[in-house]
């Protein structure tokens, strides 16, 4: 049974007094590891109902849009470029046209917050063993058929309970709980861009980093601007085929690749996750093309995680990815010369560890989300001195 948390301020006084920080973190971590799911404060048996309604605390003028005739607006945040009539919302469901001005409806409106190990994002080359104060709002600008968080990503803000947590409060909470970073995750943070951006700035004031977990279906300008205020970005690259993006994700590959290149060119730490879905995006040719693209455009030092799929949401007719398939993907990427190729969602797999690309020694030993040993010193392999890229 997952412990249900309300906002920090709403924590019952009795429990607040009795609960030490260590206990809170232990409970939070246990909940995360067991379920890996955001906590939803739901009435039993149904999505939450208008709990926060049209509270204007959450409404802010949006960025990246332009006016059109007849009070229409066109959003420019993501490549969909939704054209939105007055009173309507775009594909993401959380940005609304009101009288010809475009607003975000989820500013300071997270539906969940958790303390997660950074390895859960996964980010393997960014302060291993540290904790990330993870937040998400409702909404998403995609509709992946395998989404494990669809109950928050595919809903509107009115359909799920949320909290009022302005950026400064998030930053303060992250600092108080000893998080190294704030993670914008679970749903697609592109759609809560303004909140994420301001929270990253607030976090830096508290000396807390920011990491973004994104599908990178975002226009170039906003992602470039975002790179200036965050510290690491993990991109979920769903496939290396336009057809898959169209059929399974309802997006496009090309702008995602452009966004990934933009992140890399701005010097933000970047890691890539490729969720391997049996029969749909696990072809040898596709993996080879992906690996070559990464090496050519990003370099061999960008880590890639081939992650195991489990049946979810609208893709329950497929089996979990065979581990042999993940091994094959890793072998292809290794053969193409990528230096840091991981296998994800297979606790105990040797490819969860970080190895020196030169001498082959284990540098970071992991089991699941737990770091058992961290041997990198001053950003280098302690055995042969090779520089290991990352943020240590």
């Amino acid at each position: 049974m997952i412990e249900k948390f309300s906002t920090i301020d709403q924590w019952p006084d009795k429990q607040k007094q009795g609960m030490k920080r260590r206990t809170f973190l232990k409970l939070a971590s246990a909940a995360c590891v067991v379920a890996g799911m955001p906590v939803l404060n739901l009435p039993s048996g149904s999505l939450a109902l208008g709990a926060t309604g049209s509270d204007n605390r959450y409404v802010r003028k949006a960025r990246y849009w332009e006016s059109k005739a007849h009070k229409q607006i066109q959003c420019k945040l993501c490549p969909r470029h939704c054209v939105i009539d007055d009173h309507e919302r775009g594909y993401c469901g959380v940005r609304e046209n009101r009288g010809g001005t475009y607003y975000t409806l989820v500013y300071a409106r997270p539906v969940t917050y958790h303390m997660d190990p950074i390895e859960k994002k996964p980010l393997f080359h960014f302060y291993p063993g540290s904790m990330a104060f993870s937040i998400a709002t409702a909404g998403c600008n995609l509709n992946c058929k395998f989404c494990q968080n669809w109950e928050i990503s595919q809903v509107t803000p009115e359909q799920v309970n949320s909290f009022y947590m302005p950026p400064e409060k998030i930053a303060r909470a992250a600092k108080d709980y000893g998080a190294k970073s704030i993670a914008y995750t679970y749903n697609e943070p592109t759609i809560f861009y303004e909140y994420m951006y301001d929270t990253a700035i607030a976090g830096h004031k508290e000396e807390v980093k920011s990491v973004v977990i994104t599908a990178a279906y975002i226009e170039k300008e906003p992602i470039q601007k975002l790179c200036a205020v965050v510290d690491a970005i993990k991109v979920d690259l769903k496939a290396f085929s336009e057809q898959y993006y169209k059929d399974v994700v309802h997006g496009e590959l090309k702008p995602v690749l452009e966004a990934v290149e933009a992140i890399h060119n701005r010097g933000r730490w970047l890691e890539i996750v490729y969720l391997v879905v049996p029969t749909l995006n696990d072809g040898e040719k596709e993996i080879k093309q992906l690996s070559r693209w990464i090496k050519r455009n990003l370099g061999p030092d960008v880590p890639i995680h081939f992650t195991r799929f489990f049946p979810q949401y609208l893709l329950k007719n497929l089996p979990p990815t065979p581990v042999e398939t993940l091994d094959r993907c890793k072998a292809i990427a290794d053969a193409e010369g990528l230096h840091y190729v991981y296998v994800g969602n297979v606790p105990g797999h040797p490819a969860e560890n970080t190895y020196c690309p030169r001498c082959g020694n284990v540098l970071v030993e992991r089991i699941g989300f737990t770091v058992k040993a961290m041997k990198i010193k001053n950003g280098r392999c302690p055995y042969c001195g090779t520089r290991i890229p990352g943020v240590w």
């Binding site: 999505l47 229409q72 054209v83 009539d85 594909y91 595919q154 009115e158 609208l314």
Partner: protein, 328 residues
């Protein structure tokens, strides 16, 4: 002067003004006769610029009697609803002033009461309370009389319904509260899907309509209408065509609205959408505008809804019988 009324039966062949798309190869030939659509119009439904509720009720009665070939409206309604049931009325309040006319909803309520449905067992519903209020309805969740509320008042049932490309939660109003639903759509174009008439009105039953406008709503609109509770519970459609809109929808756009003075009714939502689509195209042509296809938003979902996989009705004009009623 007595009100003149005449009945005219016509069958749409080749859709008089626009060539129909080639039929999907998979569309099946109807076994049990044609789908019937009644278009009832009365120039006097508006009086001094306002809707005349009495005329709307009278027009509704004529349309229902014609559809079911009966002499008394109660007999028509008794073919759709039964005493003791809970009946939902799905209105469309997305467009503020361009929303379902309250007078039409009241007319339906009046006839449901006469048909033996208890007042408190009538639920007028749409997506959001605020939309209903902006359209002139008074929210009544637990009080006496017909209830009026949005999906946000009752939430969504936890079961994920999946058909084709669509996967959605459904409002508890539909899944848990109603035995049957009267679907009151609007006659208007839609800037993405082409038209939004009766099939698309059921987007108001799902939790994620924003996700289903890609590719002009095709196949999503058809897929959503194929969800079992929608397929089973939506019993009848009455399209509020007192006013209609041929461009700029679904937003309320006065320059492109006209008084059609009518109702379009039937049980086959596909046939109704096809019929309404032709009306809109005719008006667009009169206004010198491009067809929806030329604008890249042909409502192909209508044909998808009629294919074998969906089987929601007939889009072939050869299998649609249209009855025209003109009053006043």
């Amino acid at each position: 002067m007595n009100r003149r009324k005449f009945l005219k039966k016509s069958v749409l062949f080749g859709s008089a003004f626009w060539l129909p798309r080639l039929l999907p190869a998979s569309e099946s030939i109807p076994q049990d006769g044609k789908s019937k659509v009644v278009i009832a119009r009365d120039r006097q439904v508006f009086k001094n610029g306002r809707v005349n509720g009495d005329r709307v009720l009278a027009l509704l009665d004529e349309a229902m009697q014609a559809y079911f070939n009966v002499d008394v409206p109660l007999r028509a309604w008794r073919k759709i609803v039964h005493p003791g049931e809970v009946i939902g009325i799905k209105v469309n309040c997305l467009s503020g002033r361009g929303s379902t006319h309250r007078e039409l909803a009241e007319a339906v309520v009046e006839r449901l009461l006469q048909a033996g449905i208890r007042a408190n067992d009538i639920i007028i519903w749409d997506r959001l309370n605020k939309d209903l209020e902006e359209a002139g309805f008074h929210i009544n969740i637990n009080g006496k009389g017909p209830r009026v509320f949005g999906n946000d008042a009752v939430g969504f049932a936890p079961e994920l319904y999946v058909f084709g490309q669509a996967g959605s939660l459904l409002t508890r109003t539909l899944t848990n509260l109603c035995d049957g639903v009267i679907n009151i759509g609007l006659l208007r174009d839609h800037s993405i899907a082409g038209v939004s008439i009766s099939l698309k009105n059921l987007f108001g039953a799902i939790h994620n309509p924003n996700k289903y406008h890609l590719n002009a709503g095709d196949p999503y609109i058809a897929d959503v209408n194929a969800f079992l509770p929608i397929r089973r519970k939506v019993r009848f459609t009455i399209v509020d065509a007192l006013e209609a809109q041929y461009h700029g929808g679904p937003a309320y756009m006065p320059p492109w609205r006209w008084k059609f003075n009518g109702l379009i009714i039937g049980q086959d939502r596909v046939a109704i959408d096809y019929t309404g689509w032709q009306i809109i195209e005719t008006k667009r042509k009169e206004a010198g505008m491009k067809s929806l296809k030329e604008e890249g938003r042909e409502p192909t979902y209508i044909f998808t809804a009629s294919d074998k996989k969906h089987g929601l009705g007939y889009s072939n004009p050869e299998w649609i019988e249209t009855i025209h009623i003109r009053s006043g």
